[in-house]
């Protein structure tokens, strides 16, 4: 293939790739709002569904802004600092972004506008933070969650994203860990770490943060005694379906061009997910006696998580194996929280950490050109373990420090009474459903009365005056 260049040698814009990437970025947005929000919201109890969804929406709102201000520069800026992050000031506020970039210098492509790449990456940062929220459902102050989101995305996400994708320590860079372990040739590590769409950056990162946070924050009132079962399973399945749909943008979009690799990624993402859903259901049927809907939805997510790092490196058959194992592993892992007594409310650890680790390490076994199972030796496997553990350590340490600091300052927990009443009412002054109509009356604030004038008669008078004209 020939490189598309203009007469001046500037890469030419590739309209197909640009259109493709704008669609893919939008698909990844759909994964969080509303996909993940619905998936998590349905799994929660009826009195906490809105807070759960708001944690995703809120995180997206904040991370979207931070990403534009300094997040992109810190992840993908031109000046690497110690292999850990890039200088956040180089492209502060997205100044100095290029009209056209050829990010990974693929042969055969023109460029896409750098802003398209920014948009695509912005949605990744946002969903990674939102993923964590499922572990700490029902019990944390919305304000503390928002502050945590901003700090965590800065210190854990932007750094790991830079290390893996931005040319840092966990990339194929000649100064990276892989090059130090197995050497480099022509400025590139001989063994290129495989993380196609975010096993380390997204899932291990979020899953580890979830594990540490639940240990810092503690259990919900009644955990292990009271039934905390999903309040709306069809919504869980709708959310899982939207996640799957959006995930094509996540994985196939990570190729940054609509080409043969993107096609392979699409197929691999599909079959791994099918296999994981069935794997989860088989474990359930054998262990619990029933194949459940929530199990199918969870298996879908486990499969998507596992194939994320590996989707560009496996064959479709290898992807089926990877997915089936992921579904089975995560189905077994979700029970651990009861055995060890940590309240990972919606199983972010069991699904994202476990399947994220498996997918990242499994790529070292199943990669067609470098994997152990294809007789290519164990070097790829070693590097996969190294990048997976690096992500575990970085995310674990950053989350522990941030979690404890916020515990000492703002505090994480809402009061026990508020938790029993339900966080939707106490944090957001709303309820998710009004199925049986309870009319109620307008409150004092809506009737133009000051807060002190809440006496019943006054409210009644005001209601009658205003209500009559309405």
């Amino acid at each position: 293939m020939t490189t598309l260049v203009t007469a001046t040698g500037e890469p030419k814009i590739d309209y197909a790739a640009t259109a493709y990437m704008i669609i893919c970025a939008s698909l990844v947005l759909l994964m969080t709002v509303p996909g993940l929000a619905l998936f998590y919201g349905g799994l929660n109890r009826v009195k906490t569904v809105l807070n759960m969804m708001m944690m995703s929406f809120g995180a997206f709102g904040l991370v979207g802004i931070i990403y534009v201000i300094y997040g992109y520069s810190m992840s993908f800026g031109p000046n690497d600092i110690g292999g850990i992050f890039a200088n956040p000031f180089d492209k502060l506020g997205l100044h100095d972004t290029s009209h056209i970039v050829n990010i990974f210098h693929f042969n055969g492509y023109g460029g896409i506008p750098e802003l398209v790449f920014v948009g695509f990456q912005l949605t990744f940062a946002a969903i990674t933070v939102a993923l964590i929220s499922g572990a700490i459902a029902d019990r944390v102050k919305f304000s503390t969650w928002m502050v945590f989101s901003g700090l965590w995305v800065t210190l854990s996400y932007f750094t790991i994203a830079h290390m893996v994708w931005g040319g840092g320590l966990l990339s194929a860079n000649a100064n990276g860990l892989s090059a130090k372990i197995f050497g480099a040739a022509n400025g590139v590590a001989k063994v290129v770490p495989i993380d196609f769409a975010g096993g380390t950056v997204v899932h291990i990162n979020a899953g580890m943060a979830a594990l540490v946070l639940v240990l810092v924050i503690g259990k919900r009132v009644g955990f292990g005694k009271v039934a905390m079962r999903p309040h709306n399973v069809p919504v869980v399945m709708l959310g899982a379906g939207l996640l799957w749909f959006g995930w094509f943008g996540f994985n196939a979009g990570s190729e940054l061009a609509p080409d043969t690799t993107a096609a392979l990624v699409w197929i691999n993402t599909t079959v791994a997910t099918c296999a994981a859903m069935l794997g989860w259901l088989v474990v359930e049927k054998l262990r619990d006696g029933h194949a459940t809907s929530v199990g199918a939805a969870s298996g879908i997510v486990a499969g998507l998580v596992a194939i994320t790092p590996a989707c560009g490196a496996l064959s479709p058959i290898g992807s089926i194996v990877l997915g089936a194992v992921a579904g089975g592993l995560s189905a077994m892992a979700v029970g651990l929280k009861f055995r060890f007594g940590y309240d990972d409310s919606l199983d972010v650890v069991g699904v994202h950490l476990v399947s994220g680790l498996w997918g990242t390490i499994g790529a070292g076994l199943l990669a067609t050109s470098t994997g152990l199972f294809y007789g290519k030796g164990g070097k790829q496997l070693v590097i996969q373990v190294v990048i997976a553990l690096s992500s575990v350590i970085i995310s674990g340490v950053v989350t522990l420090v941030l979690g404890l600091a916020l515990k000492k300052t703002m505090g994480w927990r809402i009061s026990r009474d508020d938790e029993l009443v339900g966080i939707d009412q106490t944090e957001h002054a709303e309820s998710g459903y009004d199925l049986a109509e309870r009319e109620g009356r307008l409150g004092a604030a809506s009737l133009g009365l000051h807060a002190g004038a809440m006496r019943h008669e006054e409210i009644t008078d005001a209601y009658e005056t205003n209500g009559a004209s309405a």
Partner: protein
Amino acid sequence: MKLVTAIIKPHQLGDVKDALEAFGVNGMTVSEASGYGRQRGHSEVYRGAEYTVDFVPKLRLEVLVEDIDATSVVDVILKAAQTGRIGDGKIWVVPVEDVARVRTGEHGAAAL
């Protein structure tokens, strides 16, 4: 006047309503209820965790009738709601002091 209250299985409502209409009952009130008697709840499994659901969904059917009709109405409901299996429900009758129709202000038997 009497108030006949029946707790029945939700899927028996259609039969019970038809039987009551055929008998000549003009109206009734139905509300969702949950409870248990000899039929205990069931268990559900979510992500491998088993939850026991003690209360079974039922419908509460209320019919206001004249004293003379009470026994027959109980029989009508009984026949229509009976499946013979555990959890068919219960029916009870209590005396009612007065009934008023909101629209017209009629009282007593005229308001039924």
